[in-house]
């Protein structure tokens, strides 16, 4: 096979893996949008916050150390213990649930029946707050996240492809893990929403708020539930992205990467988030590979948006979105 084609295949494969990472973030958006009609800009910051909390708990950092030191003049940094990864993940998940409850009680409850743009702005406000809060709580320096996920280039894939094509593909171990985790997560979410009582309630609310209320489903409980799940998804995304590139502010910008994925897949469709993620991942990697050198590179910043934009002009509700019906 010609080299160019092999390179393109490798790029495509890596694009698919990157797409899975985008889909992980987009998933959280879709869940919240379906259940409450809120376009949750804070999803990326939730992932950052979850990752910061995980590292903080794992390494036994003193929360708010910087603030306490500034007020009292002390030199606190760490408690001096480390927490095993599994326990730290469970604790962080608990923190995310508490966060979901607090968000519901303090913010969402008061914004029922507001225009969608107002709710959107409120989530941007929350994103700002959480970003500052996470930094004050755990410090803003770049942290290394290590929960025992395999790092580096996968030897198995390289060996296998070397035998078949005579050219070894470079694929990150972490990306493979992320793919497996994403598949597990989507399966678990699907099972949950299809077969559990709460899952059915969730789907009922997503279908029709008022009808759900009238058969006795508590909207507020559903909101807490769905924000908790979104928090958990954010935690998973935070672990994956954090292990890949360190826990730092730029982690919250993955939300911006997830937006075109959402547009492409439709805001209301979980399969849409996955397929959209894959299309965007492959599209931007291939575009960078083919056209990047010609026009100066770094096209990844905008290509996804332009692709989604062009796509939407032909299909305004996205790939899998519900058909938009408008009446006067």
């Amino acid at each position: 096979m010609p080299d160019q084609l092999l390179y393109a295949m490798e790029v495509t494969l890596n694009g698919l893996m990157a797409g899975v990472m985008y889909a992980l973030v987009a998933l959280g958006f879709v869940l919240i949008y379906k259940a409450s009609g809120i376009f949750n800009y804070a999803q990326g910051v939730l992932a950052l916050f979850a990752a910061l909390t995980l590292v903080g708990i794992q390494q036994g950092q003193v929360p708010f150390a910087h603030l306490i030191n500034a007020v009292t003049g002390g030199h606190l940094t760490h408690f001096g213990w480390t927490v095993p990864s599994v326990l730290a993940i469970i604790l962080t998940a608990a923190v995310m649930v508490v966060l979901a409850i607090v968000i519901e009680k303090l913010v969402l409850k008061h914004l029922v029946n507001q225009a969608p743009i107002i709710l959107f702005m409120a989530t941007i406000g929350m994103a700002y707050f959480l970003e500052g809060f996470g930094d004050v709580m755990w410090g803003a320096d770049i942290k290394k996240l290590d929960v025992g996920l395999p790092q580096g280039i996968s030897d198995t894939v390289e060996g296998l492809t070397d035998r078949i094509f005579g050219y070894g593909f470079f694929v990150d171990n972490l990306d493979i893990v992320a793919t497996v985790v994403a598949i597990l997560l989507v399966t678990a979410l699907t099972l949950f929403s299809q077969y559990s009582k709460q899952g059915r309630a969730l789907r009922a609310v997503a279908d029709d708020h008022q009808a759900a209320l009238s058969v006795g489903i508590s909207l507020r409980f559903i909101w807490i539930l769905v924000w908790s799940i979104a928090g958990f998804v954010a935690l998973v995304a935070g672990i994956m992205w954090g292990s890949k590139s360190g826990v730092q502010f730029s982690l919250s910008l993955i939300a911006l990467k997830a937006l075109p994925v959402l547009m492409l897949g439709g805001f209301t469709s979980i399969p849409g988030a996955i397929v959209g993620g894959l299309i965007i991942g492959v599209g931007e990697k291939l575009f960078e590979f083919l056209a990047g050198p010609l026009i100066g590179g770094a096209t990844e910043n905008w290509f996804a948006y332009v692709l989604a934009l062009i796509f939407l002009v032909f299909r305004p509700q996205g790939l899998f979105g519900e058909k938009i019906i408008e009446r006067v």
Binding site: F39, H66, L67, A70, L106, V107, H110, L111, Q114, A115, P116, I117, I118, F120, M121, A122, I124, G125, M126, A127, Y128, F129, L130, E131, G132, F133, D135, V136, A140, L256, L259, P260, L262, M263, F267, I295, G296, G297, A298, T299, N301, W302, Y305, V306, A308, L309, L312, V313, P316, Q317, G318, I324, E326, R327, V328
Partner: protein, 358 residues
Amino acid sequence: MFYREAGDFKTTYREDSQTFPIKFDRLRFYAVLAVAYGVIPLFINDYWANAVAVPFLIYAIAAIGLNVLVGYAGQVSLGTGGFMAVGAYACYKLMTAFPEVSIFVHVLLAGGVTAVVGVLFGLPSLRIKGFYLAVATLAAQFFLVWLFNKVPWFYNYSASGQITAPDRTVFGVFVTGAQTSAMAKYMFCLVMLTIVAVLARNLTRGMVGRKWMAIRDMDIAAEIIGVNPLTAKMTAFMVSSFFIGIAGALFFSVYLGAAEVGEAFGIQKSFLILFMVIIGGLGSIFGSFAGAAFLVLLPVLLKNLLVGALNWPTDLAAHIELMIVGALIVVFLIAEPHGLAQLWRVAKEKLRLWPFPH
């Protein structure tokens, strides 16, 4: 006592349809103009001009521009930063290509260039609505910033990739470059803001503005009663981008002096201006002023308080500032989703009855 329609008889149509039909409003408007043009320039110094006055004036222009689009025409846009960058780079190219022409003309032309770009990126709004459109406008934001970074022609092949404003004058007074006095900066921005505000106010009162609002309230219904969505949406994008382009040109040439596109016109700028519009009040020119003032003053106040008075480290203060701004936005949206302009409206209603509550 103060705010009365009673006794204020209109005898001509002209009087009846003037911008401020109530006498108190009119007098207040002239008083504000008199203070802004007559009093503040006498006392302004470099600190006040650079930290408060000039950013306020420029952001107010940008906020009015975005308010036309979001508040009046209902098309949510997150591309403001990108459009400001278009204004800034257009202004830079014009300033360096035609040094003999007045900067005043350049700034207006930069607005014109931005208007064209805005219409181009506004075209999808005919098909895409709501949040899909908001996200689609992010395409403009990222693409434009990338473009100005990657194509050297835009920054005249300078080694640093920055654009730097050369010295330019209006009526013999420097308004850009290092020799500019605080007063010149202030006055130049103020004149621009006055032009923009008067234009915006009258556009939104007139036929164009009513078409925008009809489209905002329900575009299908508007189309049925004879509003052409193509012209209404495109004029909204055009006018909005024109103002935003002017703001971008001023932001670069008068306020910053030198700019790097990703830093000065990034996505954060888009959000900041959207916050101003929301906190100020959607669909209100006064709201744009109030929102801009609020978000310009707040960080200055917080910084003075936390770093100056409490002696906290600056990085901690920056994080706390982020928290406070975020929390305030949420609190504002909960307490008054229609923004500062609504508070002002309520105050006026109270004033109308005062001192007799019934």
